[in-house]
Amino acid sequence: MSEKLLEIEDLHVRYRTDEAEVYAVNGLSLSMNKGETLGLVGETGAGKTTTALSILKLLPSKVGEITKGSIKLDGKELTKASEPEMRRIRGADISMIFQDPMTSLNPVIRIGDQIAEVLELHSKDTNRAHIDKRVDEILKLVGISKDRKSDFPHQFSGGMKQRVVIAIGLACEPRLLLADEPTTALDVTIQAQVLEMMKELKEKLNTAMILITHDLGVVAQTCDRVAIMYAGRIIEIGAIKDIFEGENHHPYTVGLFGSIPDLTKETNRLSPIPGMMPDPTKKIPGCAFADRCKYCMDRCREEEPEEYVVGTHMIRCNRFGAGKEAEA
């Protein structure tokens, strides 16, 4: 096994609003190897984006707060890093791509200058010619002709804009790229183009990536490992084979797969998960999925299920491992 790049241990994140405290992430642990692509899958409100923002320490100030846990990048503790330190890390070591390419580019700055800006901020070499050369290289990497670097964002289509955003994210060759739904806003044919490009880039640059998405199809086509999140916890994680072809699954994962209309099979009715995500303002003593789970046992409501690990595959459910024996 290669070296660990990112280790998250028992992360808790809380948002404080006028009305209530929202527990967005509740005890998330995760580790990632160098050069690996991890798919972070879950529905709205599962805490995917919050996790990514915590890694970058970009949680909305005064509202969002890491209450517990540690995040280590290459052994360096990020939760205790100061703001200037974090600023040096952002963009250079870890960068983030946001969902909407329309709003993540500054509309009044030429795209070449936007890429150059990241380079200027993080590299010691401030020679204008070198930076220009590097901008051309990066644009070529994401498949944009260098003649277009003096164009403004509005002159690009959605797919091209997302390429520019990815170019900015990759400009300093970060060790970790956080991609928050990078293709959700794009059309299928354009999405396919961008996914293909990202795959190629990953192989070329050996950048580790956390791909946040709700689309299991995208995950299957791009990731090495998959983590399924529910109510601020990882309820199942494993190599892509474990999740898509493994035998045992968390009931939520099963429900998630059952909700997608299958293109290859004829189905009359979908089998969605009944109910909704639990109230994030309440602390749940046991398994967060208990209320919607058809296998729910008494002990599920009392204590958080143990991890059940087989090889690379972890399921946090009482139906398996120690929990199963206890019930029997």
Binding site: E43, Q191, E196, H214, G217, A220, L256, S259, P261, L263
Partner: protein, 321 residues
């Protein structure tokens, strides 16, 4: 009433909608014809900017068509006057994509659902309206305790249920569904899709289901029309289209979907190059020819009509003329 599936409920003939822009005419919908039978679902698929939403709005006369006919119950809707149209609106409704933007934030759930009833005066008695609202909420699976909440207090799935209830309020027979599940999470999306299919069965509804999501459209539709830059490029029954996609664009669309499977045959296939060109003053000829791997000289020279290949499978491509 005649048995479902045999009688055409709505027939669109050569519908065109051009928008005037400073750069020229934007061909949002360009000569589209189709027919939806009673109790069936027509899926309209295409990428953003292909005119599928405009098509739905033009049929409902939310935007006025440039030319063409929309025959509904033997009469041309586009020739109706204001009063006739108002009567007609009871029978045809729309469900919108964005459950956040499509509900008035200053009205409570019950007010939103009651509004079409009040406007169309299908019921006038206050108690009757209240009963109807409660009944509708039950139909779409909204708990009664939400009557007085405001939409922003609810999640996307529940909001979309309000949108469905509002569309059902006047007991319509035809509903245009404009990407009703695109903004929802997969598990909620499945709940809403099931709800819509149940409603269709119970109330013998006819849907025109607009979406960009091929797996959703396959699931819900009986027939599918694929649109590209304002034109319908392929039309077939759902089964036929997925089993035997003929138009190169349909094939490209199907190949581009990332499937949640690791099998070798499900891997992303060769990705189609290029992007959708501008719908403003399009050049004559097949509009997909710029991106098409099979494009010939002929494609750019003449307009390619939809040609029936037998069994109602229509394709607009020189390969099948």
């Amino acid at each position: 009433m005649s048995p479902t599936g045999s009688v055409p409920l709505i027939q669109v003939k050569n519908l065109k909608k051009y928008f005037r822009t400073p750069k020229g005419a934007l061909h949002a919908v360009d000569d589209v014809s189709f027919l939806i039978k009673q109790g069936r679902t027509l899926g309209v698929v295409g990428e953003s900017g292909c005119g599928k939403s405009t098509l739905g709005r033009t049929i409902l006369r939310l935007t006025e068509a440039t030319s063409g006919e929309v025959i509904y119950g033997g009469e041309d809707l586009l020739k109706f006057n204001k009063h006739q149209m108002k009567e007609m609106r009871k029978r045809m409704q729309i469900i919108f994509q964005d459950p956040y933007a499509s509900l008035n934030p200053r009205m409570t759930v019950s007010e939103i659902i009651a509004e079409p009833i009040k406007v169309c005066r299908t019921l006038t008695d206050k108690n009757e309206i209240n009963n109807k609202v409660n009944e509708l909420m039950k139909t779409v699976g909204l708990a009664e305790r939400f009557v007085n909440t405001y939409p922003h207090e609810l999640d996307g799935g529940r909001r979309q249920r309000i949108g469905v209830a509002r569309a059902l309020a006047t007991d319509p027979e035809f509903i245009v569904c404009d990407e009703p599940v695109s903004a929802l999470d997969v598990s909620i999306q499945a709940q809403i899709l099931n709800l819509m299919m149940d409603l269709q069965e119970e109330r013998k509804l006819t849907y025109m289901f607009i979406t960009h999501d091929l797996s959703v459209v396959k699931h819900i539709s009986d027939d599918i029309a694929v649109m590209y830059l304002g034109q319908c490029v392929e039309k077939a029954t759902s089964k036929e289209l997925f089993r035997n996609p003929k138009h190169p664009y349909t094939q490209a669309l199907l190949d581009a979907i990332p499937l949640p499977s690791l099998k070798e045959e499900d891997k992303l296939k060769k990705v189609i190059k290029g992007e959708v060109s501008s719908p403003i003053n399009p050049k004559p000829g097949c509009r997909f020819s710029v991106r098409c791997p099979h494009a010939k000289k002929e494609c750019r020279e003449r307009n390619v009509p939809l040609v029936d290949q037998g069994d109602g499978h229509c394709v607009a491509c020189v390969l099948y003329q």
